[in-house]
Amino acid sequence: MNRRIWAFLVPILSVVFALIVAAVIIVLIGQNPLVAYKAMVLGAFGNVQAFTDTIIKTTPLILTGLAVGFGFRAGLFNIGAEGQMIMGGILATVVGMNLRGIPPALAVPLTMLFGILGGMAWASIAGYLKAKTGAHEVVTTIMLNWIASHLSSYLITGPLAVGSGTPKSPEIAPSAKLPPILTVGAMELTSGIVISVLSAFLMYILLEKTTTGYEVKAVGFNPYAAEYGGISISKNIVMCMAISGALAGLAGALEVMGQYHRFLGTLSGGKGFDGISIALIGQNHPIGIIFAALLIAALRTGSNNMQFVGVPKHIVTIVQGIVIFLVAADRIVRTIVIRKKVKR
């Protein structure tokens, strides 16, 4: 079967299958799956409020998904999106805090830029280590995650701490906040979603249309052939980790600028790790990742509503798990098939 169609079908079929399995479980616990699913859909998209909530949750997930997905395309397993997101968030906060009196036209891009740089620098450490010493990025990014996490809790309990209660940093300057495009009650939908969708399109163009994309994917598929083709593997590793980290850093910056307006300990809250599942479900394709992020966000917002009709919200964790399992299994099967077919 055509590879493209297959790549498209697998995640969809996996979701359908996962929903069926979850339905069986719901029946087993004595509830009506149709009622539960209806509540879930309504909870995610049922009204403006629900919809806004879903989109807000989608925004950083697209970016962390892109971060991990881009790494995968280049043959890198960036598990560090979490840490990179934290560093992006911190740097955006520190810069944003100090921009009082600067007009938004300058303050917003500047804050965002520093968020990007924060993630970029953090990921580049892992990239550099891999290029220079061969240290595997899975190991180094996990270590960097811990460092970032502890560093940020130190900062918001120490030098940056304000107020009492949960540790948090001061607010960023009003001019550094992303202006809302839609305000629903206490929720603000900001242009962040536009920026993350735009990032997906930029990544698509980079990968599919440019010479750099040609090189990145060549290294991802077969580093030996890429090297033979005059592509510097180490340069590619550093560059791709940097781009990957930039995307995660941007996720952190947007959370600060659009949502919390400050740095909180819970800012990243595992969204960097969600990026791994999202990249997998989205088949590392930028557009696929947008939909995968939307799916995960919708499951999360919808699950709260499902709880009201008596179905535990952990059902969605099962759904998510099954989807990832199936998508990953398809990968494994395909890798084996490809290995077997290696031509004479």
């Binding site: 598929f221 030996y224 890429a226 033979y228 077919k341 031509k343 004479r344």
Partner: protein
């Protein structure tokens, strides 16, 4: 045994009503051009592919396989050209993998080892069963593969181009084994492009051409010329004519080159030589005597420990492949799947690998897909790459056509110096003739060529000068018309020319 087999891939009919009758206890050779459909046919017999039409009978019984598991149950075993062994396990662990004898729930290591040992002794399949796969020569890895199929009870053995990667000595040993297997009643299907091997080992031959079985011959009643004609559809020149030519200026100079292998041991030990314009310098030697490392060092893929490499008097030691290509140094690598191609990329992406950043393929950092496609289509036409589908991923081309793709690419950018390793490995006689002609015409137009090959015939018929390597050193330099195969053979086993001619 296989009747009316049809297998279609998008755009190609890989097998077009092919009949293959193999008798029990014989060695049956399948020969045919690259892309004729041999591998496809065998993959169906082994259950890896499902035929679109046709029937398969094994020992007179009609069968239908939905996977290799079924084929194994019917006592069919296959040794693929690219082995499927786990590199960091030992030989016997690989053999028993997936069918480990057990004691309770534990792996019965001792019994496993004994079973494997018994089998290997029975058929003279000498292997060091406790050595890791990655430390073994190819020939031994292949024997491990054979033991693996035998342990699973194979009565019918399919060997897809088993000799393509073997040294002449290893080939001889393999043939001994095949004869023993035949004596004990096993049936062997043997694919090869080397007609002299087919003549030597087989009982009967099926010839394939463009997806069809075009001939069924009894080996003792035929000759290589007839087989070649049936394969290609015309008379084939088995050795090309070489005109004599005065070489020009020195284009490549290597001075006291030292290179290490992957394990960090010296692989090339102080080698010095030169290649001139319009000259083919052949490097002969048994595989594993530093040729791979030498070529990689010259093409910027491996570090030079000591010594210098000069291109037209410019120092190019340790320069990366991109800079070397800018100089006009192009490289046909020995391992085409690993080095030469990004197999997941479509063909039109592969024909620009190495030049992808150049105008007109890349404009302001963006790829011009239309321009690249046009270029690829022209190349396909000029070098007769089949099928003529530039969008097909490189992995879906037959071995020979993959090689043509690489050769086409490397020759198309007007090279000044060509470094060529095993250019005709796995190629059919027609394609070999084509590549030999192309290399000679490059030489005639003034290109300097360094040719590394394990095929002595190839070295002799193409080279102007022959360097023989052994243990990372040059044993001597001879002209093909002033030496003999025996002399070169002696040097290949470690005797210096001075010693021999004394």
């Amino acid at each position: 045994m296989m009747k009316g087999i049809v297998k279609k891939f998008p755009g190609v009919v890989a097998n077009d009503h092919v009949d293959l009758f193999v008798e029990k206890g014989e060695i049956h050779a399948v020969v045919g051009e690259n892309g004729a459909g041999k591998t496809t046919l065998m993959n169906q017999l082994y259950g890896l592919l499902k035929p679109d039409e046709g029937e398969i009978y094994i020992f007179g019984k009609k069968v239908s396989f939905s996977g290799p598991g079924d084929a194994i149950k019917h006592k069919i075993g296959m040794v693929h050209q690219h082995f499927m062994l786990v590199n960091n396990l030992t030989a016997f662990e690989n053999v028993v993998l997936g069918m480990e004898p057990r004691k309770g729930i534990f792996f019965d290591r001792k019994r496993a080892r004994e079973e494997v040992k018994k089998l290997s002794e029975e058929y003279g399949l000498f292997v060091d069963i406790d050595a890791k796969i990655e430390d073994m020569p190819v020939g031994m890895q292949q024997r491990v593969e054979i033991i693996k199929t035998l342990l699973r009870g194979a009565e019918i053995l399919i060997l897809d181009e088993p000799t393509a990667v073997l040294t002449p000595q290893e080939t001889k040993e393999l043939f001994e084994i095949l004869r023993k297997l035949k004596q004990s009643g096993k049936t062997i299907i043997f694919i090869s492009h080397k007609l002299n091997e087919v003549m030597e080992i087989s009982d009967r031959i099926t010839v394939m051409r463009q997806g069809k079985a075009t001939g069924n011959l009894i080996t003792s009643q035929t000759n290589p010329r007839e087989i070649a004609r049936l394969m290609v559809g015309r008379d084939v020149v088995l050795t090309v004519e070489k005109t004599s030519r005065e070489p020009g200026e020195v284009i490549l100079e290597v001075q006291d080159l030292w290179v290490k292998d992957n394990r960090g041991l010296d692989a090339v030990k102080g080698v010095s030589f030169a290649v001139r314009e319009g000259e083919i310098v052949g490097i002969a030697g048994v595989a594993g005597n530093g040729q791979t490392e030498l070529v990689e060092a010259l093409t910027g893929l491996r570090r030079v420990e000591k010594g210098r490499v000069l291109f037209r008097k410019h120092e190019i030691t340790g320069k990366n492949p991109k800079i070397l290509r800018d100089f006009g140094i192009f490289h046909i690598p020995e391992d085409r799947l690993r080095r030469g191609l990004v197999t997941a990329y479509p063909a039109y992406f592969n024909v620009i690998l190495g030049r992808h950043m150049m105008f007109p393929f890349s404009k302001n950092g963006f790829l011009d897909h239309k321009e690249i496609r046009k270029f690829a289509e022209e190349l396909f036409e000029r070098f007769d790459v089949r099928p003529r589908n530039v969008d097909l991923p490189a992995e879906n081309f037959s071995g020979g056509n993959q090689q043509k793709l690489i050769v086409a690419r490397e020759l198309s950018f007007s090279p000044k110096l060509l470094i060529v390793a095993q250019p005709t490995r796995g190629l059919d006689v027609g394609a070999i003739e084509f590549i030999h002609r192309t290399l000679l015409s490059m030489r005639d137009s003034g290109v300097g060529i360094l040719l590394v090959s394990m095929e002595l015939d190839e070295i002799f018929s193409l080279s102007d000068r022959i360097l023989v390597v052994y243990g990372g050193e040059i044993m001597g330099e001879v002209k093909p018309e002033e030496t003999t195969m025996e002399e070169v053979g002696l040097m290949m086993t470690g005797h210096r020319l001075e010693e021999i001619r004394r």
